[in-house]
Subunit: 406 residues, 2 copies
């Protein structure tokens, strides 16, 4: 039988949802006395359900960076520096606080689901400096009672020496580096003692997972960011990623604040309620989709598909920035339409735009009006093509840039 | 008035000494049931004072490395892996376990003596991977309630960006890198918010300390190793380094197990009693000397001079290894002599040896006998020079290799 990290894993979905909103309600008042949060949310009352949550603005990375630049170190969004244990900087730059206490990034649940247990020695190949990757996994392993080898990235020879001397059972790092180590161990005739791996930070090809399984290594993925820690993780069910406890996860149409229908691909937006760094509707910039049903492993939290690309589709056309939010504005000017997709291509050494829109009927007058709105909003001309409802691909792409790179 | 980390800082010296030996007595039985320790110590009873301690063999790094290679990971010297939090590897290779709990390396006391207080943000520029330097200071800062920026070494531009955003009050790292950062901040017109620094890992020139003081940064040193954590540290008194609590520190003649008279330069040997990694008479390979009296700051622990070089004076003469322990053997064959110093030089494209020995009288027959013993032990001929008692320099050098390098 599957063992669980704790009873939260299998709680009733309605009870989890109610508890998350109750906790959000409890903390909301404390946020609203902070000028930065009060200015952002301009809402007197805490959201009581997902519909109310969806009316709050999504905080995107560019806004966060602007806030942090104006109000160092954390844009006024962290209630108390006394709750902060470590301070990080990720490319952007974006600055992230680490909470105090054990497992501040919520990664222990993911490690547990990947089969890690107290006493397993873990070789952690994420870096420990500047960005929090190394500490996300390190603190989780320590919370589970796993001794950690802070190996850091790279340096295969040294990593093999660590494996030889310490005989780790677990690996944390990128999928590719796991393969490099396994191959290196085989070549150097070092016993590859690793039997479980939690990988993150890069795409895991199914072929690599299968290959490693054939070599006795069970590989599971976690989806994590420097702002939020572990957002979702795989269990032995290997059916999507299970949303971490303590988080409210939504999928919104890229460039907008609006949730998409369940199953549709869009940007992952997360509300974190507890800890040193509350975040209300933080836009991760990553694409995924909610899955229906629950995991066969018995964990009851919502599930998402894996990472499906970047939601940040802002691009330049004829030298002008074009943003998914502008396409949303165009669409909202004409109620009753489905998805839209701006295809940017190159013809006769010129950028061209074609806006495909799902419409109930192929009405040429509607197409003409959409063309006018597009030109008004984008200050650029583009062709319009009306297509049948549900015919555009469900891949989260609002701007599909097909121009050759370079 | 000076504030102390805790009451241990100012306890009566005799009480501290008695407590250390009492604790050693309590733990000794548990060590003696471990085959590796029992084989090394071959002593049924715990040492009750320094004279008894001095009869136990010194564990030198070469022996430790051999033990660790034969019995991975830690040579059978660590009682329980359940007490180990992290596992490190230092050049050699030598492998080091980190104990569980807060401040496992005993560095919080040193940070406190350097003026660090809860709430001070600390920019930690020691590396976090493979070797324990970063964690030694990180865990200590966290134990004091100081948020830590895990900056790691190098990358001056990024470090200045961290200073700009996080405004750290404290610095931990090497002395040289502190100057690089201070100079870089001045050049880039970044406010240098650091006012206190605990430096380690390299020589601190008095001129650099003075320069930094002039720029508003109080700089203190800690002497630490990967095996033992913080061995000794400076306080505001700036009179030598105060031995850390929980350690029994001896100074022995390089290459031997024998304590030198107080004040004489020799190898630092440390017995650590508590924690996950007990070490009985571990030879650090570093030279220093005990100081008389107590620190004016009120801390009562013994003091040592700073780092005075490496005790490992083993060298090759005419292709043969010559070790300080061999010189000790020569000396012990002729009772009643003082210090000895083997001067290795180069003449007529040949290695030459001159053994200088402190003798009560310049007796040519004694010199001849010493020459014979030297040849017997080293399998190499050398000249003998008898000198007056107390005339050889007090610098811990048993082998003085004066040959030009390269």
């Amino acid at each position: 039988m599957t063992t669980m990290y704790d009873s939260a894993d299998t709680q009733d979905r309605a009870i989890r949802e109610a508890a998350l909103f109750a906790r959000l309600g409890e903390r909301f008042g404390a946020l609203m006395v902070m000028p930065a949060w009060a200015a952002r949310l301009s809402s007197a009352t805490a959201p009581v359900d997902r519909a109310a949550l969806a009316r709050l603005p999504v905080l995107r990375k560019t806004e966060l960076m602007a806030l942090q630049a104006a109000h160092p170190p954390f844009g006024g969004l962290v209630p108390s520096m006394a709750d902060v244990g470590r301070l990080f900087m990720s490319p952007g730059p974006v600055y992230e606080p680490e909470g105090a206490g054990t497992d501040p990034w919520g990664a222990a649940r993911a490690l547990y689901a990947a089969g890690f247990r107290g006493g397993d020695i873990v070789q952690n190949t994420f870096g420990y400096t500047l960005t929090p990757g190394g500490f996300i996994l390190d603190s989780a392993a320590r919370a589970l009672g796993c001794p950690v080898i802070p190996a850091g990235p790279g340096n295969t020879e040294t990593q093999l020496q660590l494996i030889r001397q310490f005989r780790p059972a677990g690996y944390t790092g990128t999928p590719d580096f796991l393969k490099i180590l396994a191959d290196g161990a085989a070549k150097a005739e070092v016993a590859f003692t690793i039997t479980k791996a939690l990988v993150s930070g890069a795409y895991l090809p199914p072929s690599l997972r299968a290959e490693m399984a054939g070599r006795g290594v069970s590989v599971r993925q976690a989806y994590a960011t420097a702002d939020l820690g572990v957002i979702a993780y795989e269990s032995e069910a290997l059916e999507g990623l299970i949303v971490n406890e303590g988080l409210l996860l939504e999928i919104v149409r890229p460039g907008t604040d609006d949730p998409v229908p369940d199953g549709e691909v869009g940007e992952v937006v997360v509300t974190r309620i507890g800890g040193a760094y509350p975040l209300v509707r933080f836009g991760t910039g990553d694409l995924s989709a909610l899955m229906s049903g629950t995991s066969p492993c018995g964990r009851t939290a919502p599930r998402i598909k894996g990472w499906m690309g970047r939601a940040d589709q802002r691009t330049k056309v004829k030298g002008m920035f074009v943003d998914p939010a502008q396409i949303d504005t165009v669409l909202k000017a004409h109620p009753g339409l489905g998805r839209a997709r701006l295809v940017v291509s190159r013809a006769d050494e010129q950028d061209t735009m074609l806006l495909k829109v799902e419409a109930p009927t192929p009405d040429p007058a509607l197409a003409a009006r959409l063309g006018d709105t597009l030109r008004d909003i984008l200050k650029l001309k583009g062709a319009i093509e009306l297509v049948g409802p549900g015919t555009l691909p469900n891949d989260g792409k609002v701007i599909d840039d097909t121009r050759p790179v370079g």
